[in-house]
């Protein structure tokens, strides 16, 4: 059994001595940098170009978004604790931290849905002006990434409740999911600063 497990683990290592799944996730995240860079630059290029309102200064709710930023930051803390639990064989810590991360991710999405609804109510849609187009595109794609992350983590949480958990390399699976989740967090750190904190 141990020999079979060793073989299974060895199959996931590249000639560089790193896990190929980890390497794949890092390459994927590198490609995501280009994706979000293009969306952020689109927002910056359109900044100040809107001919009709509502404009960012009139509509952005910084205190509410600060609260959602705090929620996402805390979800990164719970995610890293889930990785710690998985790597140290603490199933309780893993499951509780993973559950907390999923719940915090859902709360963040709730904040975003609330913000979008408020903006639409105040007359800002995807087609109102350049600010609306670039804002909804950028934050919408980020929210989609959070949603995918929530589904990803939920699947791992369900998997961890099985009798044999996530298997011998469950720690690596959680760590890879953690990389994705933390990336979503760092993208929000940039978006929060550029859209909300820096005056247009």
């Amino acid at each position: 059994m141990a020999a079979a497990s060793d073989t299974a683990n060895a199959e996931h290592h590249t000639s560089a001595g790193v896990d190929n799944r980890m390497l794949l996730m890092w390459i994927f995240l590198a490609s995501e940098c280009l994706f979000f860079a293009s969306l952020i630059s689109t927002y910056l290029v359109f900044q100040g170009e809107s001919l009709v309102g509502p404009l960012p200064g009139e509509i952005l709710d910084i205190p509410t978004t600060s609260a959602s930023t705090f929620v996402l930051l805390m979800s990164s803390v719970t995610m890293v604790l889930a990785v710690y639990g998985a790597k140290h064989g603490s199933q309780l810590m893993l499951k509780l931290s993973l559950l907390a991360t999923v719940l915090l991710g859902l709360v963040f999405l709730g904040f975003q849905v609330y913000e979008f609804k408020m903006f639409v109510h105040e007359g800002l849609t995807l087609s109102t002006n350049q600010f609306g187009s670039s804002f909804f595109l950028l934050t919408g794609f980020h929210g989609t990434h959070v949603g995918v992350g929530v589904l990803y983590l939920t699947s791992l949480l369900i998997g961890s409740t099985r009798r044999n958990g996530l298997g011998a390399d469950g720690g690596t699976q959680i760590e890879i999911a953690g990389l994705y989740w933390h990336f979503v967090d760092i993208v929000w750190i940039i978006i929060f600063t550029i859209i909300y904190l820096i005056p247009s």
Partner: protein, 127 residues
């Protein structure tokens, strides 16, 4: 079992839960400082300060939560390539399409070559 022990030995998170909580607290404090700075009306210093603070948060999460500080250099290089290419995309698109309000005749029409040249010249001057 042997493989589990090996995995724990080589890939276990290098920090303790208490340290992760302290890092989370530091990130929260930086966010509060960012908020304070954004409302403080610091004038021209506002944007650089906010960019520095968000860069600090970015680096903390990547280095300590994503464990890039403790992982293989290969991962660092992969991510750095993505970041550098992303930065290049950002600078190129802004340089190409930035609508300079000082262009009186432009009226929203962008002459990409001229803007790119001017933007890069300004950037070089500021460096």
């Amino acid at each position: 079992m042997a493989s589990d022990a090996h995995a724990t030995e080589t890939h276990a998170p290098p920090l303790r839960p208490r340290q992760y909580l302290i890092i989370g607290l530091i990130l929260t404090v930086i966010t509060v400082v960012e908020l304070w700075v954004s409302y403080s009306g610091l004038g021209s210093a506002l944007v650089p300060i906010l960019l520095i603070l968000s860069t600090v948060k970015f680096v903390i999460v990547v280095a300590l939560f994503m464990h890039l500080k403790f992982e293989s250099r290969l991962f660092t290089w992969m991510f750095m390539i993505g970041l550098l290419l992303g930065g290049a995309v950002l600078i190129s698109l802004i340089a190409l399409f930035w609508n300079d309000p000082s262009d009186a005749l432009g009226g929203g029409v962008v002459e990409s070559g001229g803007h790119a040249t001017r933007f890069l010249a300004d950037l070089a001057r500021s460096l």
